[in-house]
Amino acid sequence: MHTKTLLELGQSLRSGEFSSVELTQGFLDRIKQHQHLNAYITVTEAAALQNAQAADVRLANGTAELLTGIPIAQKDIFCTLDVKTTCGSKMLDNFTAPYNATVVEKFNQAGAVMLGKLNMDEFAMGSSNETSYYGAVKNPWDINKVPGGSSGGSAAAVAARLAVCATGTDTGGSIRQPAALCGITGLKPTYGRVSRYGMIAYASSLDQGGPMARSAEDAAVMLQTMAGFDEKDSTSVDLPVPDYCAGLNNSLAGLKIGLPKEFFGDGLNSDVAATLETAINEYRKLGAEIKEISMPNLKLAIPAYYVIAPAECSANLSRFDGVRYGYRCENPVDLADLYTRSRGEGFGKEVKRRILMGTYALSTGYYDAYYLKAQKIRRLISEDFKNALTEVDVIMGPVTPTTAFGIGEKMSNPIEMYLSDIYTIAINLAGVPALSVPAGFVGGLPVGLQIIGNYFAEDRLLNIAHQYQQVTDWHKHTPKGFE
């Protein structure tokens, strides 16, 4: 059962080939069997089986939707009513929200069955899932490698078939990078397309939730449920949600693809580059025109990001103070002690590093030089994308400079770790949508192709990815031991 795609499973459920309870039990068994991947922080077995039963009722009475009865999993950054939400941190190890995130609520309404909460880098800060308080997640393609991050648990779970699909969030590449390193399809929607309500904030102006699935088609079904205006999120955009599946089979003849020369220079592993070239050739065969373009400000994306994101996070994480909920140190002697020890003991190293960087960047005397400057760069980068996307329909490039790196390899060198997001970060700064699609393997490890589109052109991106998946089978490969 676990080898089928979301749409295939939906058909089987509706035709009565097997029940949602059977399917859910099958996935719960696989989660237990592959615990060593450490993809889940919390498995909600009893609730999942109960919800599967409810889904079976809907399947029987004809009120089922595409997702009804489908076992999915939520990144542990989305708040879930009555189920612990940790954000990968000791700080929230004891936290249960009295509400569902809008995204969670929408999946519940659609009848999807939540298997549990997925591991992630602490507060979504990391590119390898190694900063999690709950330990590193292993890449199913090679358990000595990282799955990427911060949605590492989501990517590993989908790749290893421990969930049909999963949610992720992407602030600087946290959906696309792990999707690429684990060989699945992951989409970061346009900023404002998916509600952030109940999604624990890292950098509010960059954070965006999105689908992580086996195929573009499955991702389209997920996005259909996730997208839409939410009055509880002022930054969500009040635009109609198109039918993401309707245009999947549109022809790509005449599609103009731009390849920024800045994406294919030094730093990109040559084997990865060759793999991408093959993938782009496939598009040529599908009728697309390929054009080299230039986006001169892309090189400024990492420094700008590492000012803006930490600045926002330094304020966003102030609420974790040991006063109302979350971790509190033992026997504080006074208020200052309560604050410093609760935060000092509750946060991990990378989180503290970013809070410090952000606090510094916003301080009197540095604000103009760092924060304001970074905002100016952000505008320049947005202009680069707007200009490029008047010339071409979509932009393609790498997701990551290399395939998955070894666990522990980059933990001692934060700059090198930050550089693994060099191709994804600019997209968040501009706010445009982008997805990662499996495009081949190098040394047995997956390589992802990034496709970037104009604001709210998710339907087009899914169409372009789906057409590629009609002529390739990279997305159908399963890691050994997880067949």
Binding site: F95, A97, A201, D233, S318, R319, R324, Y325, Y339
Partner: protein
């Protein structure tokens, strides 16, 4: 040396919205601790602020009332600091782009009108409260107030005495209540201020170093705190010391200010635009709608009362002190058809005295505008005398009857029948021949004796004008 005081005020007015500025929780005062704080007010993870449009509307109303520039584009910013009653670890406020720009307010001190500049007014959320009593050395946190909308109104350093500062604060207090944007309740902290105070030698252009006195919540304390602070600064300088820039607290019990934190200890608030909220865009349509619905402002109302109703400055000032009182007055004038001056005198006189004594506001008056009008009509048409009217007013206060019902029931109707009056006068003249002689020999004062006798005999119900006229004729013989 002669010193000059320089004062600027930052007034915090809680806006009278039903729900909080960024959440749907109610703003009502006095509930059990932490029962009016939702997930957003508690700063739980993942929740997001959503701006209450009503708070924006109220800020714009205020801006228009002080003839200020209304920003077409304003931005919410995060003001970062840690405190247990600040759940998010930052306060959502406005920094670089406040919603209300430069405006002004005119105050009257000792008969002289002075214009005080308003630098800006911005929207922000209030914090919760830290409770230090009854927790055995621990601190309790009540987050009911967290997220209550505040309008912070910042003045220019235009005031030169504590008296002017109080006049400005009173004027502002009157205005926000007029506009219906703040209940003005100072005990509950709905209207409070910080005062920036400095002194300089008279004639010096540069300002002295200022101290900020925090959280003063009564007109009396504003005056005392400023006067105390001015004395402290002058004494310090004259003894060779130097004023340091710092935040001070006013202790109303000891009547002194004391240092809270120096400039060096001050927080670096690290303001930056709040990425959870979009900029507030105010277009001409929105402004036009508000302008059309703007109530008549106190100053304009006062001028109108003086010209349309011929009221003197004193009565006009009292009557416009609240919108409800002014409305009451106009309702009485319209319903009674009496001379405005009579209405004004009754309202600022007997009615106000009774309300003060009972500790009531005009809105809670047991005598409605309609019932008072009924009474005044009967004075005007001579049904009752002014003296009897006071008696009827007492009954109006105690009962729910109308003036006419009371007059009828108690038989208080004034007697204007000259025959009845004449009979009484004749009898009194006959009984008091000694006094008649005195009067006729030129002792005019005795006239009052006769009036008193007649009124007594007629239980006050005789028409005084009629009595006077007839008595004069009869006495002159």
């Amino acid at each position: 040396m002669e010193w000059e005081t320089v004062i600027g005020l930052e007034v915090h007015a809680q806006l009278a919205t039903k729900s909080k500025i960024f959440s749907g929780a109610p703003t009502a005062y006095g509930a059990e601790p932490n029962t009016q704080a939702c997930a957003v007010d508690l700063g739980l993870p993942g929740v997001l602020p959503v701006l209450n449009k009503e708070a924006v509307r109220m800020a714009v109303i205020f801006g228009m009332a002080i003839e200020a520039h209304i920003a077409p584009y304003s931005v919410f910013a995060r003001k970062n600091y840690f405190y247990p009653d600040l759940p998010k670890g930052y306060q959502i406020s406005q920094m670089d782009h406040p919603i209300v720009g430069v405006g002004h307010l005119d105050i009257d001190v000792d008969g002289v009108t002075k214009r005080i500049g308003v630098t800006r007014a911005h929207l922000e959320e209030d914090a919760g409260k830290s409770l230090h009593e009854n927790f055995h050395g621990l601190t309790g946190i009540d987050l009911n107030r967290a997220g209550t909308p505040l309008l912070e109104i910042v003045s220019e350093p235009d005031m030169r005495s504590a008296k002017e500062a109080v006049a400005y604060m009173r004027k502002l207090h009157e205005l926000v209540r007029y506009l219906g944007i703040c209940d003005g309740n100072m005990q509950e902290g709905s209207f409070r201020c910080d005062a920036n105070v400095s002194v300089r030698p008279k004639g010096q252009v540069e300002f002295g170093t200022r101290a900020e006195i925090k959280n003063i919540n009564s007109f009396k304390f504003v005056e005392k705190a400023i006067n105390h602070e001015v004395e402290r600064q002058i004494e310090l300088i004259e003894n060779g010391g130097r004023v340091v820039q710092e935040t001070r607290l006013y202790d109303s019990v000891k009547d002194e200010t004391r240092s809270m934190r120096s400039k060096e200890e001050a927080n670096d608030y690290r303001y930056f635009p709040d990425p959870d909220l979009l900029p507030v865009i105010i277009d001409e349509d929105f402004k036009a709608q508000i302008k059309a619905a703007l109530p008549e402002l106190p100053e304009a109302k006062k001028q109108r009362f003086k010209s349309d109703y011929n009221l003197d400055e004193e009565n006009a000032t009292i009557l416009i002190s609240s919108r409800q009182l002014a409305d009451y007055f106009e309702n009485v004038v319209n319903a009674s058809g009496c001379e405005a001056k009579l209405c004004a005198n009754w309202i600022t006189g007997d009615l106000s005295a009774a309300l003060n004594k009972a500790g009531l506001e005009i809105t809670d008056s047991p005598v409605s505008d309609e019932r008072l009008a009924g009474l005044l009509t009967r004075i005007s048409d001579n049904t009752i005398s002014g003296k009897i009217a006071k008696q009827v007013f007492e009954e109006l206060w105690q009962s729910t009857s109308s003036a006419d019902e009371i007059i009828a029931e108690k038989g208080l109707k004034q007697i204007t029948d000259s025959g009845a009056i004449e009979a009484i006068i004749d009898k009194i003249i006959a009984d008091n021949q000694g006094q008649v002689e005195q009067y006729r020999s030129g002792k005019d004062k005795v006239f009052a004796f006769f009036v008193g006798q007649v009124m007594k005999a007629m239980q006050g119900k005789a028409n005084p004008a009629e009595v006077n006229k007839m008595l004069k004729e009869k006495l002159q013989g």
